[in-house]
Amino acid sequence: MAETKTKAWRNDAIAKVTGRAKYADDYKFYGMLHVVPVYTDAVSAEIRAIHTEEAEKMPGIVRIVTAKDVPGNPHYGQIQKDYRILADDRIRMNGDVIALVIGETRAQALEAAKYVRADLSPLPAIFDPEEAAKEGAFLIHPDKGTNIINHHKVRTGDAEEAFKHCDIILDEFFATQHQEHAYIEPESSVADPGDDGVIRIYGSMQHPFVARRFSACVLGEPLSNIDVLTIPVGGGFGGKDDTAAIVAARAALCARLTDRPCKLTYDREWSMKESYKRHPYKIYYKMGLTKDGKIQACHVTVYADGGAYCSVTPWVTFRSTAQCCGPYVVPNVHCDIYGVHTNNVFTGAFRGFGSPQINYVVEQMVEKAAEALGMDEIEFRRLNCVKQGSTTVTLQKLDNHTVSLEQVLSTTIEKIGYYEKRKNNTYGKLNENGEYYGIGLAMSYRGMSLGAEGPDFCAAIINAQFDGSIIIETGIHENGQGSESAMIITAAEYLGVNRDRIRYHRSSTSTIPDSGTTVASRGTIMGTSAVVLAATKLKAQMSQCLAPALECNPEEIVFANDCLTAPNGKSLTWDQAVLKMFFLREHPFAQDTFRVRDGIDCSWDEETGHGKAYFTWVYGCQAAEIAINPKTGKIRLINAAATHDVGKAVNPPFVIGQINGGMAQGFGYGTMEDLGIKDGKIANLNLGKYKIPKANELPDFIVTLVENYDPMSKSGAKGIGEPALELMAPAVANAIAHATGKRYQKLPMIIPPEK
């Protein structure tokens, strides 16, 4: 790959290759205590009493905390306040925590935790979201009066009427599984109560602002009493949003109650038992077609298993709703998507966020449709997919950016040699190697950032020092994706300075305005846009102050090559310019915010499902070549290719890295990852049984970046984290169908060995 030939750069690479990078569990404070959570064996039960007396007498035990010790509100949630920091009335899932044991050492806390007991009365339990949605079902949260967390709709055209005029109707069922994020670093937070009354939290998370909100809520204290600092995070993938906030809030609670620093580090089993997963979906999908090859109507019903708590289920299912027909133009759509409580482990944000499930279905439905029509599967896609100026199923006109779906499709086909290779598809007949072989692809569009889900805005600060060095920070969090480096590169470009001048200040929630969560592939588009705005503001301020010295009009000054230059040839070096600013009693300092305007850039009508769901979109296509050994059923990924339009690749080696990693996760999702959950209990609680792809199970990937500068982004750049993941499972599903002649409509796709 040409792109990786140039040396990669990121600001934290050296610390990470030398072992100097300090993650949460690497922090130690004088007098620090260790916290251990206590679980029960139950899945659904009423809590009658929690007995801590015996455990309290164990050596080294400082305190045992239960729900009654919470000074503030023990209930919190980003959307519905139904999550318990510690279980109070009921056990609703197997991962519920009833107590926190605080010990002088971790070993002492672990030992004492065995002696905390709960008196429980068993309650009924329900695990199927479709059953749980029915009238009269056992209620997980009686106060809500229903297990249905949310119901999103799309009502476009008249689907029922349209089906009457269709030549072919496909009616299919699909099911997807829980997926574990499997970040290699389990959750950890250290809370240090400062002498200024502020608790400082060093934690592994991707949404420090929600960790602060959750902690403040639990403590009954103002947000300003909590300061969440940025430290390296050992992977998130959406999984360190809610759960990391819970861990941080528990550490903060223990620190406040003991007035000592407290560390809560999860082991892998606790992490997998308690942390939220990707939503399993039950999907009923009906598609109507006319002989001319056009999709006329879709009827979509989805039950998404939200598990015991709401988390961000309404937002995850919103994306599934807005993208319910994939990147295809469908004039008549009737879509109902329900997020539903069950007694399974709760579910929430996971890279892809409601799109991987839908893409898995839609990209198989279009191939079934092409087959039923006797059409080429690529030609069918081209005929029906969105193009420049097309209208989406939510009646959004795609006209404010380049609609590059056909471009990414053609590029992927060419790069992997799809047309040549598909001649070798075996369709259930073993080839000369004694294997089944198939090539398949999938494509998607994806709304960028949060869209109409919620307020979407991000802050950036640029603070130039009198020696010419520059400090920047944004409200975007470094999760490992390289966001800090992308911000530095953008600031250097727009200020016309060398990037070596710039340090990224690891923001804390007390220094940078609350800019929301670093999810939704929004880091690059929101963060770099904010950096461009702040840089523009700083240049305007400096130009205003320095125009007299340069004897020109402020707007004539050019910032480039570490210099400010006037048309008359006069110039100041960057060092001279900032020093002059200080002598003029002016701080070269700028803050600005990039905003997605409500109602203008994004809009949504809950009743009709109409509106501008997202302010801009990205387009991607991935293809997979597989071989299946009939004796073992093992799917071998021979080769895979991806093409993504990212607007602008700010730091190409890491854009490619995102795509490589997303493809691997998507392959795992499609073919192997499974919690083994039964009656609410997870069997595969560690990485031995919960399989994620290994190095020897993956090939090198063919990655191609397409850069259609996006005018909706101030930097032209969009996002790549999630588009990279959402296509591999359907591409592999299509490859399996072409290899075996059979459709696998349940994830993970496990091929039974032949006898």
Binding site: R10, V17, T18, R20, A21, I184, R268, G657, E697
Partner: protein, 156 residues
């Protein structure tokens, strides 16, 4: 017990024979570069070298290191204060994202390259098969290990 870690000899009381190596490195020696990802010997984040062989520190006890030389990520150094060539290759190839698997990955790669300076990509993929990474899809990690091989020729 006598355990050499990154060139420094530690005399450890025999009462600690059955203490876990990973915990000792992290908590007693403050060598926190070695990570705990699964604690059951699966993920490879805790790989260190014991007499130049890659071992999972979460599955080793102090007695297993008695009389031996342990090398952790902190002990890997290049010449004249520079990064070790393998570390530099990880930087240059964009192999690092979250970074949590990287110390174990580098130690496993280092052990491979000590044995075989020019492994094939397949050899590399096999060698790191029990080092899990969730960010990178392994491609750029394989690139780095492949590229660093020639540096081992020079040092041989």
């Amino acid at each position: 017990m006598e355990i050499k870690v990154n060139g420094t000899l530690h005399i450890v009381d025999d009462s600690r024979q059955d203490d876990e190596l990973l915990n000792w490195l992290r908590e007693d020696l403050n060598l926190t570069g070695t990570k705990n990802g699964c604690h059951v010997g699966i993920c490879g984040a805790c790989v260190v070298l014991i007499d130049n062989k890659p071992m999972r520190a979460c599955r080793r006890l102090l007695k297993h290191a008695d009389g031996k030389e342990v090398t952790t990520i902190e002990g890997l150094k290049g010449q004249n204060g520079a990064l070790h060539p393998l570390q530099q290759a990880f930087v240059d190839h964009g192999s690092v994202q979250c970074g949590y698997c990287i110390p174990g990955m580098i130690m496993t790669g280092h052990a491979l390259l000590l044995q075989n300076h020019h492994p094939s990509r397949e050899d590399i993929r096999k060698a790191i098969a029990n080092n899990l990474c969730r960010c990178t899809g392994y491609v750029q990690i394989v690139d780095a290990i492949e590229a660093a091989g020639s540096a081992y020729d020079e040092n041989a």
